[in-house]
């Protein structure tokens, strides 16, 4: 090969579940930007459904096309072990992002540090409402990154601020209407509620509507962002959002995949030749997160960002 450059037709695929979700859009932009820099082709693939068998099928169909590498968001860790290993055996390098399959042979994992997010959120809440107040969380049981954001925040509070009282914990599963309902009830039961932590933006939209309606003074913090929550941040209804650096996730995702596919440029001091694994192993990359407040909200308008860019 001619240094770090793609052969004509060399293709990299990004495979996700619920592929219509806006979260992937900036990630894929980062992926594409990196790919263009190296003259590589990219494809966005996956399944529109929340269905692991369908995602595996789409992943296997990606494999049929013999791409150089796949940046994969595995819906579940273990079910992907065997497909990932099979892909690598057939010459397609795999890197995971935002969710991992640690027991597989994927070469890298790019993600936000959910623990760091949770810790940051906890500190911010305490800074705003003091260290002896009531707070509540909405959650989405079953989705690992959302779970982690919630459980980590709760245990951080327990450990460092024992006077912070968790008074409500409702599953709203990214459904704004469910969140509207649940928040309404939490507010009824806890007139002294001071803060609300929400691990994703869909529920935040419903929660803020309920808080506004009840005219309660509750500090709302959430992860991710949507145009609506952005507006609420600008208007001061939502205090702050923590948004994973999606562009970096995609960009680094591509880099890791590309490097794995072009590992021939790298001859490290270790046993990779005899053991037969890819020499470009990057166990973990933190893509970081951005803190969105009233002041910087304007930079996070996805619609503005996407203007003039091709989504696919």
């Amino acid at each position: 090969a001619d240094g770090l450059k793609c052969e004509p037709g060399e293709t990299y695929i990004m495979n996700v579940m619920v592929s219509g979700h806006p979260y992937w859009v900036p990630v894929y932009q980062g992926f594409k930007q990196a790919a263009e820099a190296f003259g590589c082709k990219t494809v966005f693939s996956g399944t529109p459904d929340y269905d692991i068998t369908k995602q595996i099928a789409s992943f296997e169909q990606d494999m049929v096309k013999q791409p150089a590498g796949i940046l994969l968001h595995p819906m579940q860790a273990d079910p992907f072990i065997e497909p990932i290993n099979r892909a690598i055996d057939s010459g397609t390098e795999i890197v995971t992002f935002a969710a991992d399959s640690p027991k597989s042979n994927r070469t890298s994992y790019i993600t936000s540090d959910n623990l760091a997010e949770a810790k940051f959120a906890a500190e911010e809440i305490v800074k705003q409402v003091g260290d002896s107040a009531e707070y509540a969380v909405l959650e989405n049981p079953g989705q690992s990154n959302h779970d982690l954001r919630v459980t980590a925040l709760i245990s951080y509070m327990e450990e460092h601020y024992p006077n912070m009282k968790l008074v409500g914990r409702q599953a709203t599963n990214q459904d704004s209407n469910a969140a509207y309902r649940a928040t309404g009830s939490i507010l009824q039961a806890n007139p002294n509620l001071a803060a609300l932590w929400i691990p994703e933006a869909g529920s935040a939209e419903g929660a803020v509507a309920a808080v506004l309606e009840a005219e309660a003074k509750v500090l709302i913090m959430h992860a991710d962002v949507t145009p609506t929550t952005l507006e609420h941040i600008k208007a001061g209804n939502i205090h702050m959002a923590l948004n994973p650096n999606q562009g970096m996730q995609g960009f680094m995702g591509f880099m890791a995949t590309f490097l794995a596919a072009h590992s021939d440029v790298f001859d490290p001091f270790n046993d990779y030749k005899v053991s037969g694994y890819n020499p470009v192993q990057i166990p973990y990359v933190d893509n970081g997160f951005a803190v969105i407040t009233k002041d910087n909200a304007d930079s996070f308008d996805l619609n503005v960002y996407m203007e003039g860019r091709d989504p696919s």
Binding site: G20, D175, S176, N177, S185, A209
Partner: protein, 333 residues
């Protein structure tokens, strides 16, 4: 196995001796009302916040908009149909109106266009059901997928922020007239209006006839296909209305809104006595069904029951309540 026979959809026996109380007891809905009352009493002991005005208001707000869809679904069920696309179509209503608004159309005009579009979707389904002869289930399933796709396409998968909606428009979703939220007023108007029409107007009686025995209705000269076309269209149109109100409430249009709504809505109607085979059901009962589901959810949240137990308890209460209701209905028969 047989579905409960709804008596209230039909005129009551009005012989003079039959007192009001007696009639109340004979009503299909009495059992449900009793069950809901029991839940209320239990809850008012369990939580001091339950019986507050604010909580009641919040509880009604939580199901009011969906309640409008329940009305449409009940009427459709009575005519013998079913609609799985309600969630997607409601979301699409938000997306269409939101998109138009962001592209400079006046929000009221945008809403009207959006409701018209949903009505069109209903008509499209009605066409496939009545002219092509497919089953409601499969047609509305396809439309459910297509409408969701259209939501994605119209938004690029990203929720549309509609923060700039004028306040007089947001008023329909967020405002109050006196102490009563506008949403609840709209909801009550829809419910009372359609309940009345369904019981009393010749037009809606045909819906019962068609659902009860399509052939018999056709033999009596009723254009049953038109009736089914009408109920199918009406249900989608009401989804459109609900979508607009949601948009005004949340100030956004979410392409993923309403996933799974269809089961909730159908469940409410069925709990309230509607038969999936058509021919019976009442708006009043269906709304009671929605109230029951909502009270249970709210109560669990209010009592801060562990998330991991909530579903189990919710399902069990549902099963118990429906069994008791069924027992009461059967006993009275």
């Amino acid at each position: 196995m047989e579905d409960a026979v709804s008596l209230t959809g039909a005129p009551e026996n009005k012989s003079p001796e039959v007192s009001f109380i007696h009639r109340l007891l004979r009503m299909r809905e009495t059992g449900l009302i009793a069950i809901i009352l029991v839940l209320f009493i239990v809850m008012s002991f369990a939580s001091p916040y339950f019986l507050t005005w604010v909580n009641m208001r919040a509880m009604v707000m939580a199901f009011a908009v969906e309640g409008i869809v329940v009305v449409g679904m009940t009427i459709l069920l009575i005519s013998g149909g079913i609609d799985l696309s309600v969630g997607s179509v409601t979301a699409l209503a938000m997306v269409i109106a939101g998109w138009l608004f962001l592209n400079g159309v006046d929000p009221w005009v945008a809403s009207a266009i959006s409701i018209a579009a949903c009505t069109g979707i209903g008509a499209f389904m009605g066409f496939f059901v009545t002219r092509v002869g497919l089953h409601h289930f499969i047609v509305s399933l396809a439309i459910m997928v297509i409408a969701r796709g259209a939501c994605l396409l119209g938004t690029g998968g990203r929720p549309l922020g509609l923060f700039t909606l004028p306040p007089e428009f947001k008023f329909i979703g967020q405002g109050s007239i006196g102490p009563i939220p506008v949403v609840i007023i709209i909801f009550l108007a829809v419910v009372i209006g359609f309940d009345f029409m369904l019981r009393r107007t010749t037009l809606f009686r045909k819906v019962f006839y068609t659902g009860s025995n399509e052939k018999a209705a056709a033999y009596s000269g009723i254009r049953t296909k038109r009736v089914i076309f009408f109920t199918t269209t009406l249900c989608s149109a009401l989804c459109g209305v609900a979508g607009i109100i949601y948009m005004a409430r949340f100030g956004s249009a979410q392409p993923t809104f309403g996933i799974g709504m269809e089961l909730n809505v159908i469940a409410a109607a069925v709990i309230g006595g509607a038969s999936l085979k058509g021919g019976s059901g009442t708006i009043f009962g269906a709304i009671l069904g929605a109230v029951l589901l909502s009270v249970v959810s709210s109560s669990l949240a209010l009592l801060d029951v562990s998330v991991y137990w909530q579903d189990i308890i919710r399902g069990s209460i549902l099963l118990t309540a429906v069994s008791i209701d069924h027992y009461l209905v059967k006993k009275r028969a």
